[in-house]
Symmetry: C2
Subunit: 424 residues, 2 copies
């Protein structure tokens, strides 16, 4: 009646999942819709930046050699032959003792090899012509932004797998990407199970609770970069469950069920995995919460059985589903970002298993501090609202004290990490 | 011909903007679409959690007083009268030496005041009836999750102005919010100006550059929680500009122009502000980049003239537009989050003005470290792609050295700060 389960360390469980070669698909989206998507190709400069020699200031473009006698006691006069706004191409070449008025960002005219700032010249009119005089020597190349000085054609600017933030958008726009090749959002199928579950819009009833896991996972999937499709609740009937799961697997690559599907005391999911001929990678992990996590593999598709407890479900998703999503999004750092922090509170009890505490992160005088974001019980959904990190408390015979250095996993982060798990 | 401008310290510029009372609007959205939106009301527990006494384990519910003689040498027998899955309501009251099989999360039956874990009992059949025996004394209340122990009805769970993350979604779902009252996304109007500008899909031409500011601001607006509507480029004709801006102001509360609008050397925007009867709060800020930033106010609407240089435009948006957006989203911490970090590089040059360097943040051994994310020139769009922070280097007569503690502003953050500016 009761199945014996052997708990796997987290690193082994994660390794088994990451061994699965997942498909990666791409699509083209308009630049405007590319924010928060993941680049499916390296972005290289397709032209020099700047792509022409330009003036970084408002001033006058002229020939440095004509200024060689200019000094505080001796002003040199130049005729202003043209005025160049940004975007204009000069019609005239600048000759000896000639200058062109030039605005910030404008293309340097032929002949000129320096720009003198507006504030450093005196301008005047003579015989209906414009002139300026300067009292300062210029060197060839002074005040010019040279072609290619910010980036050379071919330079790698943003790597494949990077999330597209406003700065990346600016780079894409600069290089003319009005459409962007991004990773297609992985589609996750989602079934909730549990005889106690009501949907969110239903009235409470004795013994019943609302299904918070499905909307939560939809949101976690969105945060990770995927989409989730909620198929509803599975009934406690193996034939119906089997048919529903088999059908869903034709539509998605990742399928999550939350909670056990029991007929009486009997969880029917193992039988369903068997009938699907899915390979169960593990069904218990040496951690709290989330120890009751099953992951099975069917070719390149992955089936997750996450705990019905909100916090356990949340943690299971972040540890085991998120890295698969991010791998499909071309990320080279698909796992939650791991950092070090100092505990702000005591955890006096020893842990037989590694614990993952929902925590909040603060920076105090430039140092990372972490503390629990609520009650540490796997049923406590409120602790998730303020959770910005998971605090890792490795198993051991002693507890942890305020001020101890611990490792944390950042939940609201855009970087990720390559391999956070060593021997937990 | 040249307008004299008096640079304002950042804190004064910010204070002038924050003095404007802005409108705040709300709307109702389905739970599923509420992720990353901002709560427009406090979320309180509308019922106790749990809302009934429940079993935290699989086990048997019984009366503690019946176990008082149970010990390792003396087992006590109970008749199992019922089996309670989660979501079920017991049909029978548990009487003396009776027990109900109870699953995790199920409602405790009448009569029972403790749950004994499955692993601690021996079960057997006798005369076609189910029995169990236990060898351990239980106390009343052992292994029961009591009604209200996680949250009491009326408890404040998530504050108005909080961004809705997956954990908040879980809380909302738990309390039956299938629809959520959120702040309406502020709508920002956007005009680009500059004779040198091409749109993103256009081919490069000599002297021309593509307009990266408009897509970048659209993305910055999205990151801040707003939407932006790009109205296109303004021509260098004051009548057309005035009409376009006046029309746009009937549609948006915040209007941004990037770059100067010049007729020859002459910027026409001051005249437009005058004709609109807008009150120019400032037109220069003592900072680099972004010193050429103009903010004007027309009743409760705000007009921004941001620099055409990408980095200056980016910084101007984050410092002066973002806090207004977040205020409209009910945030009490509308500004970029300010923290302390250590410099990873030298900045040997003294700054006459406060500098805001696009930087990347790393955590090293639990400490925040910041370094520039690229070339520090206001024209360099590439430095924005990797920017996670702005490093604040206050003006002064000396430079900064590797290892110096500095303040940073976090760009990719969900918290914000109340008032980051003191005397810069």
């Amino acid at each position: 009646m009761l199945e014996k389960r052997k708990p796997l360390p987290i690193y082994e469980a994660v390794a088994k999942i990451m061994d699965i070669k997942v498909d990666r698909e791409t699509e083209i989206v308009p630049l405007k819709e590319s924010i928060n998507r993941f680049l499916a190709e390296d972005i290289k400069a397709n032209h020099d930046v700047p792509h022409f020699n330009r003036s970084p200031y408002d001033g006058f473009a002229l020939r440095a050699e004509d200024t060689r006698l200019a000094e505080s006691g001796n002003s040199v006069e130049f005729e202003v032959i043209e005025s160049l706004a940004a975007g204009m191409v000069a019609e005239k070449e600048v000759g000896p003792f000639q200058a062109a008025r030039i605005m910030t960002g404008a293309l340097l005219p032929e002949g000129a090899d320096t720009v003198i700032m507006l504030e450093l010249v005196k301008t005047y009119e003579k015989n209906n012509k414009d002139y300026l005089s300067i009292k300062r020597k210029q060197n060839s190349g002074d005040n010019i932004s040279f072609q290619g000085e910010d980036a050379k054609k071919g330079d790698l600017l943003v790597k494949k797998g990077t999330i597209i933030n406003p700065g990346v958008i600016a780079v894409l726009a600069t290089f003319g990407y009005h459409e962007v090749k991004v990773a297609k959002k992985p589609m996750i199928g989602l079934f909730a199970t549990g005889t106690e579950l009501l949907e969110v819009s239903e009235e409470l009833a004795p013994g019943k609770i609302r299904n918070s896991n499905a909307p939560m996972i939809e949101a976690q999937a969105a945060r990770a970069g995927a989409e989730a499709k909620y198929y509803g609740q599975l009934p406690d009937d193996i034939e119906i469950c089997y048919a529903a799961i088999k059908q869903a697997l034709t539509e998605v690559d990742i399928l999550i069920t939350t909670g056990g599907v029991s007929v009486g005391d009997y969880d029917i999911m193992p039988d369903i995995y068997k009938r699907l001929e899915a390979d169960v990678l593990f069904n218990k992990v040496a951690m709290r919460p989330g120890s009751v996590t099953t992951v099975a593999r069917l070719n390149h598709k992955i089936l997750y059985g996450l705990s019905g407890n909100p916090s356990a479900c949340y943690v299971g998703f972040e540890l085991f589903v998120r890295p698969v999503i991010r791998t499909k999004l071309f990320s080279e750092k698909p796992h939650l970002r791991k950092e070090k922090a100092w505990l702000k509170v005591d955890f006096p009890k020893a842990n037989p298993f590694t614990r993952l505490i929902r925590g909040s992160l603060s920076f105090e005088e430039g140092r990372l501090r972490a503390e629990p974001s609520g009650l540490d019980k796997s049923s406590v959904v409120m602790s998730l609202a303020g959770a910005g990190v998971l605090i890792i408390l490795p198993s051991g015979t002693r507890g942890y004290q305020k001020g101890d250095e611990v490792e944390i996993l950042l939940l609201e982060d855009f970087e990720g990490s390559k391999a956070p798990w060593e021997n937990q």
